[in-house]
Symmetry: C2
Subunit: 648 residues, 2 copies
Amino acid sequence: MTEQGLQRVIVEHVTPEIDAGRFYIKKVAGESIEVEADIFTDGHDHIGARLLYRHENDKTWLYVPMHMVNNDRWRASFDLEKAGFYYYTVTGWVDHADTWHHGFLKKYEDAQHLNVELLIGAELLEAMLPAATKADQKRIGKLITLMRDEKNYEQAVAEVLGKEIHHYISTYPNLDNATIYTPHLKVLVERDKALFSSWYCFFPRSASRIEGKHGTFKDCEALLPRVAEMGFDVLYFPPIHPIGHNFRKGKNNAVNAMPGDDGVPYAIGSTEGGHKDVLKDLGTLQDFKHLIKEAASHGLEIAMDFAIQCSPDHPYVKKHPKWFKWRPDGTVQYAENPPKKYQDILPINFENDDWQNLWTELKSILDYWCEQGIRIFRVDNPHTKSFHFWEWCIAEVQKKYPGTLFLSEAFTKPKVMKQLAKLGYTQSYTYYVWRNTKHELIEYMNELTQTEMKDYFRPNFWPNTHDINPYSLQNGNEPGFITRFFMAATLSSNYGIFGPVYELMYHAPYPGKEEYLNSEKYEVRYWDWEKRNKLIDVITRVNAARKVNPALQHTNNITFCEIHNDQLLAYYKKSGDNHILCVVNLDPNNRQWGLVQTPLHALGLYPGQDFIAFDILTGRSYNWNQEWNYVELDPHDMPVHLFKIELL
Amino acid sequence: MTEQGLQRVIVEHVTPEIDAGRFYIKKVAGESIEVEADIFTDGHDHIGARLLYRHENDKTWLYVPMHMVNNDRWRASFDLEKAGFYYYTVTGWVDHADTWHHGFLKKYEDAQHLNVELLIGAELLEAMLPAATKADQKRIGKLITLMRDEKNYEQAVAEVLGKEIHHYISTYPNLDNATIYTPHLKVLVERDKALFSSWYCFFPRSASRIEGKHGTFKDCEALLPRVAEMGFDVLYFPPIHPIGHNFRKGKNNAVNAMPGDDGVPYAIGSTEGGHKDVLKDLGTLQDFKHLIKEAASHGLEIAMDFAIQCSPDHPYVKKHPKWFKWRPDGTVQYAENPPKKYQDILPINFENDDWQNLWTELKSILDYWCEQGIRIFRVDNPHTKSFHFWEWCIAEVQKKYPGTLFLSEAFTKPKVMKQLAKLGYTQSYTYYVWRNTKHELIEYMNELTQTEMKDYFRPNFWPNTHDINPYSLQNGNEPGFITRFFMAATLSSNYGIFGPVYELMYHAPYPGKEEYLNSEKYEVRYWDWEKRNKLIDVITRVNAARKVNPALQHTNNITFCEIHNDQLLAYYKKSGDNHILCVVNLDPNNRQWGLVQTPLHALGLYPGQDFIAFDILTGRSYNWNQEWNYVELDPHDMPVHLFKIELL
């Protein structure tokens, strides 16, 4: 016989719950979490239910009463106040006192004599005494006496029909046979930047203002004001470590480097050192640490690239031969995608019997850079490394360095990308770069924000990256650059661009590929960092708007609005009383117009009531008072509206 | 660090799986089970996967290779051959040999030199030797020698490109680091009647052919040929135990019985005995056992009613006072739904500290009747008894008496009904009795057969019961009686009717209620058991058709067919090469016609190909050769088509 023999209440199908509680969900401090569960009992007795929760550092559960929504589905929510893990679960019980009270009222209405009912009630009240406060004990005691006194029948009945007794019933339920849902579920509460961040990426080696010169950390410092003025808050660098010499690639990924070629920063490691060292051409560790501090003073946090792979010169190859695959001819196995060979890069073999030392060493790289002041890592191709490693590694680093964020650079199959997010990645690159039409964009946003993904997968939208020069931008059309940036920054609360390529609208492709010509992955580039243009102005305004409009600091709060034009995309975001309405002309060549359905209900408006749509980008105001409102966007003027809806 | 450090493959989202493996799914012997899972690894290595399964009595797993359907979803199925529990799970692994072989082909096509590749392959083959058969060991050994012999390069390459090596690769994978999904899932394989049964219910006390006389088990025996000839295979009796005298109800649920009133069979227990005794008016235990045997000789299995409640005279009340609730005035608590009182029935209080003895005693009732030869129980109002009790009780009884079936009579909230099915009930009453329109019927069938319910909830469709005289039949309209019966028997493989009320089309309601006037629940009735009519003829033909058409012996095999008339419902069922098409005129008054879309693809036909729609009920044949075919149903002739589709 089961131990739960006396537990009559079933609690099941708790949400949010990822894969039967195998994974935690993710939130940031200040958010709340809405929990639902199916809760019911046999028979017709009344039941009660509570949402239980506690921070990992607290021992006792706090609770919120749950209420039934419909069809035995119950709901409640609680606030996440501080960082770290919270546990939550749901408890339900048969509420005999409430059942009795309900029956008492029915029998009273039916004019039945209630003598015995009063005595039953007195017994139920008696059971509440141990849990009650002193003051309540006194009052409850008096009620009990009254209910057992036949001479005061009328008064006792009146008391039972009053409000006070209902308060005791809901405050002191008998939880002896309560069911508590298992497993207890977990939510990780992270710092704000996990949910709201604006990334800018550039290659430090291209930071020099002197053409032909290798950029340095010092040069990067000089660029910090530019990045900060555009309104970004994360500055991400591709790897800054020593670059291998054996099998070094040349410009535009030429198989053999020419003398003087600087190589690929992702071919990490040389006699100069490995993942815990910096490339001498960039400067010293001290220079880098100085840069981190300077960046912080501009409100910028440096994100490092974590790429687990080695050049053939990496010190690991000799020191830890077990971590690599060796071929029967005694050579080390390089990366390949047959028949292609990538001899400049050695993958780590996670299936080796020294795996525990491997994991420890890899984690120590992250610990090392955390020690230097880093708290954000962009992880290169995490989907080609062991899943279990990531789960362990991210948890361990975050335990030691709370608030460390990880961005998963996995452009791969959907389930693999989801898995990495479930295993602990704070944010994830997405397919946004390849979602262009209205239908594609809405469908993808719905997948991200309306399915279970919303609870564990935080998208980070990039219109380009140093690996991807999307076909859609290869014509260099300015409205296209504006809209692709704008949607990234307003659809998703986390987004980034690879600059200065993006804002300078550099677009020359490597012929036939979705990559850049003369990519900085293979060579040092010189850029005109002083240049100003309309796109930079839009970026600056949008980032400024993101900072002051909480509605833009969330992703799951999106609702698409009807607009009868396939080239116009409209969406609404809300946070508290902050209301943002975006309209995008997806056609980079032609003026488009249409009627957008404004979400009057969400705005708390009735048709006919006046309100203002203030366009943050142009400063123009529109006085609206209807549900359907006319919009018209000329891509050569401004292809987007960023409306703040102001109620009068 | 996790123990699974070297397991690179993820296996998740296995289906069928009920509530993370908390509950088993249900099948009958001869069915197969199709299992799917998300399976993937990091990186680009090839993977392999197997569906593992074993009968509870077997120790070693059997397996079937899984294949990828799409988007990392894999599938395989296995056959359920014998009754009892089977376990199943899924395993996946990185297939290094297959990855190597694939790369070998690519490199060969690229005209690369394959010396080292041959040596790598030889190592992979070597690892297969311990698992290989003697014969295969010899052949694999020769291959290894060849691949390591530089002088036979051309021949070795040819062998690797041949078929044999692929056989070894798929037969002897290296499973050292395979991932095995947990928890291992369970399926209960039951006897055929769990899935395919035709129930007939009557009150034994109404079985007498002499008006005014109390029916006996002997009288029941005389009715067995009638029930068997109509084609039923389960004969279910409401309770046959002694009936209480205190607070006995009268006819039509009168509060007080008149002298001579026989009482309600659900008020179980008197000084004559309780749940393990039979009402003397019906006969002796020996008579009942004789009836069970006689029924069996007619292909009929007797189902007993299990109603856990007591009349105030039940021996338990004195012997086990702890099992009841006692009021402060010293009286025992009767059933109530305030302000209504049901003083003739005492509910069992499952929340008592003697609950283990209670559970044991209740189970012993079922054991007792199993001992007398019973293997089917219809359980009265299971939703008003402890859920955990049912889970334990059903499992224990089925362990001791394999093949025992339980029908849940829970007409209550959806999640409670589902819970009882998950806890072990073989079959469940449904809302069918209240689903009348085409939309309602299709929606309900889709819920039962297209959602997770299909794996654990076996519907049993009743157009009436002794508790329910549905409003839709209270006008006594013959076409209505035919269609409601017909749909029950063809939509669902399990169905039943309460007779002879149903087939005699008795329909007088208790005024204003969905109950029968002069219900046999409250009095003995006399029926004309010899009467014949059109409905009895239809019942007989449909039951005969059910026996010889496997398509009608399943419920989840249904597909609704388009037919552009809201009064016509058409559905198709298939099992192997047995094809049934049903068309129902839901309008009991008017002729209806329309074009029905015949599922040519499922039939393996192309438009223009001849086939025959043979109506089993009327004997008429229709020669069809198109996808859309004309049907016309006159309710006063025959409101339904039961087509067997015959291919030429």
